[in-house]
Structures are given as C-alpha cells and as structure tokens.
Symmetry: D3
C-alpha cells in the first residue's frame, strides 16, 4: 500500500507549527508531501516559488519529506500523487467551520480521499501566519514562531515597504 | 393572522441547502418569501437580477413560494410585506456569532420582528456558497451542491474569466 | 392549517427566559402548548405535577397558551396534538451540541416534525435552571430570574433540607 | 513499519457512526484494532463482553479489523500492540474540549503515540450512544442509527426494565 | 504599584459596549488608558484623530480615563506607559480564536504584559462596530448602540456618500 | 484602594495550571486569596481541609498569597473580604458556557463584584483535575501536571481503593 500523505495548504509562510505537524505525520506515514496551493486568486505575501523554497530550507533535515506545489483541486492533486490522505492541522483555536467545510466538500468531490486531522504541540496552538505577518510589520521579533530563514524573508518583504 | 415568513439572504447563488430550508419552512408557514438583499456595497458574483432568476428557476415546482429583492434594512422589508418572521438557516457549522449578532441587532431595530432558525438536512450542513464558487473556479463538478441551472451559471461566470 | 407549536422541555422550574420565549412564539403561532417531559429516569427537583402547576401560574395572563405533560418521545406527542413544530430556545450560551443532536435525532424519528429555534431576550441569555437551583441552595435571592411563585417553591424545596 | 491503528473508546453500544469511521480508517491503515476500554468506574449499559460481541458481529464483514478490550491507559495499550496511532472520530458536534484534553493528556503520557482525528459521514454526525439509549427507552425505533443486532440488544436491556 | 490598565483596540467607532467595559475596569484599576491602534494598513472608517475625539467626548464624564493612540506593538506601548495589563472585552459572541491568538502572541512578545478579559453587560453582548456601520448605511437608527455624537458622525460619514 | 483579588474554585486538587494563574494574577494585584468552595453537595475527591492543605504546600514559596475556604455564594465571600474582583482561568478549551453563566449570574447577584478572566500558560491549557484523577486511577504518572505532594496525595486516595 502506498503509504504517502499530502499536507496541503498555503504556507504563507511556513511556521514552527507546520514543521511540528510534519514531524508528527512522519511517525505515521512513510512519506509526507508538503503541497503548496498555487491559488492565483488569493493575496499571498510570498510567491509560490518563495514559499516552496522556504519550506525546503526549513525541512532540509527531515528525511522522507517532499515539497511540491499544485494548481486546481487538492483532491485531484492527492490522487495524481497516488495518495488517498490529506493531512490538516487542527489546533485548539482552529477555524473548525472552515476546516470541516473543506474536509466534507473534498469528500464529496472525491470519495477516495480522506482528510486526517493531527494536533500540533500546544506551544504552537496559537500560531497564525497572519498574526505573525502583522507582528513583523509592527516591528516584532518572531524568532520563536518561525525558522531564522523565514524571519529574515518576512523582514525583507514587510519592512522594506 | 397573515402567516407569511421572509427568508432573507444574499443567495449568491442559491444551493440545495437553501432549497431544503424553504421546503421545511413551507411545512410551518402558509407562504414563504425568498428575499434577496440588494446590497450594492457587497461584492457578489451574480447581479441581483441573476440571483432572483436562479432562485425562481430552482423553486419553480414549489407552490406558495414568492421570490423578491429588497434594499435597506431587512426588518423594514419584513414589515412592509405584512410579516413578522425572518427565517434563517442554522447549520452545525454556522457562523453563530454573525447569525446571533444579526438576529439581536434586528430585534433592537424592530421589536415586532422575530428571527426563527431552522436546520437544513445534515447532508447540506457544510454547503457554503463561497466554497462552491472556489470549487467551480478550480474545475470541480458541483452537481451535488446546486441545481443544474445554477451550476451552468457558475461555470459561465467563473470559467470564462 | 392548524397553526400550533409545542414548546417541549423539562422546565425544572420555569424561568423568565422560558416565559420570554413563549411570548415570542405567540407572535408567530396561533397557539403554544408548553409540554413538560415526564421522564422518570431524570433526576428533577420538582415533580411533574409541581412543574405543570408552576408554569400554569406563571403564564396565567397569557392567552392562547396551554400547559400539558407527556410521556415517551416528543415527536410522538407533537403528532398526537396535531402539530408539526417543536420550539426550542437557543441562547448565545446554549449547549449547541445537545440541541442539534436532539433536533436531528427527532427529525430522523419523524420526518413530519420540524424543530424551530427562537432566541430569548439577551437579558435572559445566561439563565440556567441548574445554576438558579444552585444559587438558591447557597442562599441567593433569585427574584430577577424567576417569578415570585417559583422562587417561593425553590426556597421551600431547597432550604428546608 | 507496522501500519496498525487503534480505535479506542467505550462503544456502549457501537453505532453506524463508529462503523463508518472504521471503514474510513481501513483506507489508510493496513489493520484497525477496535479496542473497548474496560473502565470499571464508568456506568455502562452493556458489559465489556457484550460490547465486544456486538462490535464483532457488526464488523464481521470487514477484513483487517480486530476487536479487543483493554484495562489501564490507552497509550500503554497502543504501545503493547506495537502501534503508535490512536484514532478518534471528530464530528461537527463533537465535544472538542474533551477530545482535545484527552489527546493532549495522552501525548504527555507517551510521546510516541499520536492521536489522529477522522470525520464520519455527515449523516452520522449527530449520532450519540447516549441519545440512542434514551430514544430506545422512550420507545423509538433506532434502526437507522445502529445495526439490527445492536437494536435488538438495546431493546432487551432497556425495555425489560 | 502603578495600577494602570491599557484598553487597546481600534474603536472604529466607540460603542456603548466599550464604554460599559471602561466603567467596569475602573472598579478594579486606578486608571484606564483607552489606546487607539494607529494601524495604517487596516481600512478604518474614521481617522485616528476622529476616533480619539469621539472616545474623548463619549468618556468626558468618567474620571481617571485617558485617551491616547499608539503605533507599533501593543505590548511595547503598554510597557512605555509603565503598565503591565492589557484589557480586552470578551463577549458571549466573541471571536475567541482571534482574542486568544492575540493574547498568547502578545505574551510571547513580552513576558511582562498580561491580558485580562472582562465581560460587558449582556445587553451589549452583540454589539459590533462593523454591524453598526452596516445598519447606519442601510438607514437604521442606532441610538441604542452608540452615544449621540457617534451616531451623528456615523451618519455624516456613511450617508453623504 | 484595597487591591485584592479572589481566585475561587473547587481545586480538587490544585494543578500546575492553577499555580501558573496565581502567579499571573500576582503581577496585577497586591494580594491573591485562593478560596476553596466548601460545597457539600458536590462529590469531591479531597476534603475541604485536604484541598486547602495541598494548595498551601504548593504555594508556600509565593508571597502575598492567602489560602482560605468559604461556604455560600462566592460574591458574598468576595465582599466579606473587602474585594470586588473574582479571578477565573479561561483556557482555550474552557467550558465557556459554564464560565459565562457563572460570571453573569454572579454579576446579577452582586453588582459590585467583577469577574476577570486570565489565561494560563498554553502548556497547561488542557489540564483538567478530572482527567488527572482518571489518569492516576489508571496508573499514569502525572508529575508534569501537578506538584509532587499533590501527586502523592492522588496516588494515596485513588490507588489504595
């Protein structure tokens, strides 16, 4: 059985919460593909190339992790990769409504793909890419939320403006 | 007693979840008016005329249903129609905060109008006009979420871009 | 169409929140039946007779209200009364999980009966028969939560022990 | 890698919601062990033997499912079985507080075991063993909630009293 | 001990709910500083000067209240004022996710500052600056939600367009 | 101004989460009184004397902390101590319904007392005295959840049975 899970999301940018989740998924699955959604309609801070590069750098020491990007429906990407499992992080403070609507809509779009929720470490339960971007733009040091390369990229993007 | 209920919303576009709710309301009320809010400040995909037309087509087989549009406050519209009841769908995944704020604000704006919540069938509990629009724009088939005429209209709007 | 709604619950005892809801339902329905569940397995403070009597006294000035009790399934009682509508109060602090499970289970048990949720006045949004009983047993004055006859009955039950 | 997941719970009794979840887990894992907690302090309707027997009968047609019971901590049982994954169902109406407290407490008790949440079919999102027991004791037909053998057992237990 | 609390927010515009909270905080603290976030990236209806002026007018009769504005991180402002306490209102209908993420992120940014939550009167539990603005633009009278000077300012801004 | 806060609860038994909250409150208040509710109707594991003793031992190194017990209404105790502030911990996984009902009921019972919510460290956000007791009775080591003296007391109570 091809025991491969897809961790799909926007990762704008990757945080220690995402990395914690990848490590947990690696305990269960033989391979984890981090798949960045290339959704041109959303307003992201980092380009798809930048996001993929930051994830690659941040997960360089993790074996059995692949970083990729995809266009279109997540369920189609999952099937194209020979997997049947989407991983999502569910935090104590998740937007359950959004997560559950996505999971159930995806199930309707493809009966073959299951969404599986994992909980990150509680120290990361409040991390939000959006709040981190706001904090950096207001001058905060976010070294405890994101890896050094990501913090550097955030400062470059947000403070040069 | 004029036993007429107003089902107000943006219906951008109407889904099977809305239609299920209309049918349930018809068990309780003699007449249900589906009232589309003509709120020029919101960014809707379909024009007010298009939304009204799609609802009319989707509810053509239901007797005792009227489709209308209104400008201004919902409570004023309700009173102008000789009704005192606003219907809203409440799903397991509803945005309760928004629904309750609306209901209580409406009550403050008019003591004569009550908001009544009904639950759609659980098969429609995760339907969201927003997610459906996203899914269509990514190439999904949404025939199990909306009537054929609505799916056709969605494809025309979203895929020709 | 027999426009009659059933407001089913344990009412142990009735509070100003319940009475507010009955008044709101009377704006929509021709008649409201307050139906006390005679569920011998639950541990209630007041007997079924006492609960019915307290509701009758508390709603004596409201026309078109009937007070009754029932055994067995609520949906069966609703149908036996020629109604098809169960009313439930939904407060900002409701136990949504319980309310929605009940409503959906009832729907499964009888397709003909709909549950309709109404919101009490926000001043009563935190009233809970359980907390009121606790407060009285600790010596509190609960005159702003329940009618005088109910407060008197609560003191008699809880403070004589 | 021993790709085996443990689905732990009280299953008092098993419902179609549990069975749906087992089937979903079988898409991801090579083997699923349904493990009934033998917790003498809880007041269960069915004995541990009865619960195991009802699950065995209800999952007889599913290959790669094992039914077992355990005493003590779930994480210790998971490790004793050579697994590292606990499965829990997460429904739109779950008691998130309880589920998350359990998952995080278990993580603290053993760093090697992960809890993974899956969503049952939305048709089962409101099923609750407790409500089903209540409904049967009030005379309801619960054939759409549990397999025939379970309904028969419920009637025997609850209606002979 | 300098017993001063900072009530930080966008106040666009101030409502009776905010004023109720300020009065409650004055029971606990010697001084309350209402601090308007001067966040140029957000789209506010009123300028920072207008918001400060409306708060000053609305709290003119309250002693020991200071109105100020700040740029940058809230925690840095709190420390610059010699305080260690941020006040936030928490309503039954709060966006808990946002409030808790903010509080925990702030704690990470400065270990010396605590966020303290107070509940406004339940009559104001549904007030939202956003809904009030919508209601005014649709022609509603919002005199029971905001002070007269604020309602006048809202009409001037929103109805002249 | 007597700047004293009352931290009321059942503390059955005290956990590291409670202790974290006491330390945070000490940053804001000159004195914190930990007040154990002596509610004979609740089924607690430890007697009121034992609970007070465990808190005293666990907070021995904290200055400006007093440990006490009380009977009757919390608001009456708060006033009898010359305070006007009740502290409650609010965790990401709190039972908001219960907390808010308590706070609003208390406010109704005494207009002079405010409830103030503080968040414990996120590492303690999932701690529950109930789950800890369950875990100990199943043989778990709970040294990361409670102080050594409390763990010893738990084992003595729960494992001798």
């Amino acid at each position: 059985m091809p025991n491969k899970a897809i961790y799909a999301g926007s990762f704008d940018p990757i945080t220690y919460g995402h990395i914690d989740l990848i490590k947990r998924a690696l305990k269960i699955f033989d391979k984890v593909v981090v798949a960045v959604a290339d959704n041109t309609s959303k307003e992201e801070l980092f380009t798809i190339k930048e996001r993929v590069a930051l994830i690659k750098k941040s997960t360089a020491d993790l074996k059995k992790v692949e970083v990729d990007s995809f266009k279109g429906l997540a369920v189609d990407y999952v099937k194209s990769r020979g997997s049947r499992t989407i991983i999502r992080g569910i935090r104590m403070l998740s937007d359950f409504e959004y997560e559950f609507q996505m999971a159930l809509t995806n199930r309707q779009l493809s009966k073959d793909v299951e969404t599986m929720f994992l909980m990150p470490n509680e120290s990361y339960s409040y991390l939000s890419s959006k709040l981190i971007k706001e904090a950096v733009s207001l001058g905060a040091n976010v070294g405890s939320f994101v890896p050094p390369s990501v913090e550097k990229a955030l400062r470059k993007k947000l403070l040069k403006k």
